[in-house]
Symmetry: C2
Subunit: 259 residues, 2 copies
């Protein structure tokens, strides 16, 4: 990670404990998965301690963990210009109030579409997303203003006050391991915004970030674990973004007929 320019100085090593462990089984078409075993290990007592450098970051991604921890970390970066949050069904089930409070403190929520429905009780994805977008007006909290619904092999949708955008997943004939695709997607999205500090947080930038996220996730599932992403190059990402662009374009102009 250091070779890639990632600052890992805040990573904490805990003696005498084990790392997080997950054991699951994917369905035939990889669209469903069943958890067989989860062991939190040292993650159970995790209390993030942020260095001064981390606290001055202008972009923050709160990956899926207890909403209280997400809220605590978020509070340590009051001046961040863009904060995104991921979560999961578990926290909607057992810590919904904390999750809603954490969501109120961020700009962007990234969830699976089924989780968005569960969170809001609204079976319709657009209604569910608009419901979460309406929370700031009723709670007086900062956000969110951007909702991203992950849809697995079907791609992802972006809902903001300005409108709706949807992108299919990059089509692959060989999917080896979908584990971590959602995390890679979120990292690709937030990372794209972090990499453009001079750019306005426009619908246009968010759409490009969605494409970047989609492409990163597509590489991640091609091999086991992080194997493919470890040796991924910027050139490969740009090439696949161009391919994805070509796969989603059609002419909106009236058709010219021959003869």
């Amino acid at each position: 990670m250091r070779r890639r320019g990632v600052d890992v100085s805040d990573v904490e090593r805990v003696e005498g404990g084990r790392t997080f462990f997950w054991h699951g089984e994917y369905g035939w078409d990889l669209n469903s998965r069943e958890t067989i075993d989860t062991q939190l290990g040292v993650f159970e007592g995790f209390q993030p301690k942020l260095s001064e450098g981390s606290r001055s970051s202008d972009v923050l991604f709160l990956a899926n963990i207890q909403p209280e921890l997400q809220h605590d970390v978020r509070a340590q970066l009051p001046d961040a210009r863009f904060v995104a949050l991921d979560s999961m069904n578990l926290w909607i089930d057992i810590a919904r109030d904390s999750l809603v409070r954490a969501i109120g403190s961020v700009d962007c929520v990234i969830l699976n579409d089924a989780e968005l429905r569960q969170l809001t009780g609204k079976p319709n994805l657009v209604s569910a997303a608009r419901e979460v977008l309406s929370w700031p007006a009723t709670t007086g909290m900062r956000g969110p203003s951007v909702i991203v619904a992950k849809q697995g092999e079907y791609g992802a949708a972006l809902v903001t006050a300005e409108g709706f955008f949807a992108l299919p997943a990059y089509p692959l004939e060989t999917v080896i391991d979908p584990t971590g695709a959602g995390d890679t997607f979120a990292g690709g999205l937030v990372g794209y915004i972090a990499a453009h500090p001079g750019a306005e947080l426009s619908e246009e930038l968010l759409r490009r970030a969605m494409a970047h996220a989609t492409v990163l996730a597509s590489f991640n599932v091609e091999e086991f674990g992080t194997e493919r992403v470890e040796r991924l190059t910027g050139k490969e990402i740009v090439a696949r973004m161009k391919e994805l662009h070509a796969m989603t374009q059609f002419s909106g102009a009236p058709l010219q007929l021959r003869g």
Copy 2:
């Protein structure tokens, strides 16, 4: 239908029988449905009799029915320039060989993505579509050369020898009745090609046909049965195609940074 310029002269009235009847229940998010009762009625002994006018059509859509009937009708229009076929899991289960023969005689197959996986035994959608595209080379039959995978609320994908295209469904906050959305989609796709007799059957035309199909299906689900489609205007379709276009576009060019 006559008011809309539809030629219904080949519609056959059978005495003493009942029309087709279907009773089903949709799941909470409308993404799944359970059939409670199906009564074929007069459809059970249906033997399509085509007039000379119908036999001279240059575009043919074989809606979902026994594959043998589809093959018989297709044989009555040997000179049609574009023939599309829809089917369902039932025929894959009980009449796979007949279905494969019918598919070999058409240009375009329109199926739900789960049905494409079932038909080919391939869990990956792209592999499944490419498998069906490879059949003409091994069987010496005419087709197919175009595969359309319907994905319900997630949209639809188009796979040809030239490439891959995917389009999200038009996002709706109010979905009243998804019954017939797949048929409306197929009709919208094939109808668009029929309405452009002078146009080459290009990837570009197929992509526009996909957008037209997506828009028609979106109107269909907004009200019960055919209520909404009955009073649909061309102007409304064009307006929604423009909206769908705006919802799917992003810039593939490198981002210009401010400052």
